[in-house]
Symmetry: C2
Subunit: 153 residues, 2 copies
DNA sequence: TTGATATCATTTGCGTACGAATGAATTTTG
DNA sequence: CAAAATTCATTCGTACGCAAATGATATCAA
């Protein structure tokens, strides 16, 4: 390397103690990559549904009919995002929407028989997805990681 | 609860051993929420730049001029995503683009003086963001978590 | 009861994120 | 060398994710 290149490299990043920030070591960056990896594993097992769509179906299976808003809180999605997800599930015939009789603001969401059949069928695959996502960790590490991750979320 | 409601609840989710899948306990779901929380903390500290945009600037500071493609690999973004991010940084005057002299397919990205100034100024805030994101964990838990998260990503 | 507030849903706009298709330029290989 | 394969960048289409604005309905309070 020439002296000039050396100078350039110094100017690049090593100015006055700035070199102690490494992007690859920041939680946010790694969290984003871990999430990307999970989504990719998910898609490999369940091609015709996204993780948020599956989350909506799985939660509806747990709680039964709820308002769109309420469902959003249960699966950590804001109102605008939930609407899109539910619209697409409705278009596929997995959920149906009805107005709340008393409170006419509320839009009730519930599983159709097809929707219920789909979740039940997909749950075993979802378990595989969880397993594969955690597979870089040993059996002992998994509960430790899950506990700390839950604290963070 | 009436007997009828009881029956409905059974039909809802507890049919034939299906009750052992809890969405809120799945890595993917918690990973998504942890990521959401981080993005929100980021936005509270750095309002005028997104995490991906900052990642691009921080990486350019590390490696100097690179091709758009190469940069994408370094910050874990596919070509289509990187293009959008770089376009917006260019519109803000933080990066500039030039064609590679020899290999005319490549588009070289580099920081402008304004871009460099911005990263240097933001790095201390980024460190605060990392700190705040990890704040639910104790000092002892942090390295454990980071090690396991890195294995997962 | 009515006027202020709050809640539910929708819409718009912006920014990731990625698969798939396309075209230009380069490299490989027969 | 020339054809085939690869690489880089761009574009299109779809799907989150969220802030902000809007409208309808419901609740609260004076």
């Amino acid at each position: 390397m020439s002296a000039d290149e050396n100078i350039l490299k110094l100017v690049d990043a090593d100015e006055a103690g700035g070199e102690d920030y490494r992007l690859q070591d920041q939680v946010g960056f790694i969290l984003r990559r871990a999430h990307q990896r999970h989504v990719s594993i998910f898609a490999a097992h369940i091609a015709d549904l996204t993780p948020p769509q599956f989350a909506a179906l799985a939660k509806l299976r747990d709680v039964g009919e709820t308002s769109q808003n309420q469902l959003g809180q249960l699966i950590a999605m804001d109102a605008a995002t939930v609407k899109g997800v539910i619209d697409r599930l409705k278009a596929r015939g997995f959920v149906e929407l009805t107005r709340h009789e008393v409170d006419k603001r509320r839009l009730l969401v519930s599983l159709t028989p097809e929707g219920r059949e789909a979740v039940e069928r997909l749950i075993p695959l979802a378990q595989k997805i969880t397993e594969e996502t955690l597979s870089p960790l040993s059996a002992k590490e998994i509960p430790v990681f899950m506990r700390l991750l839950a604290k963070l979320a």
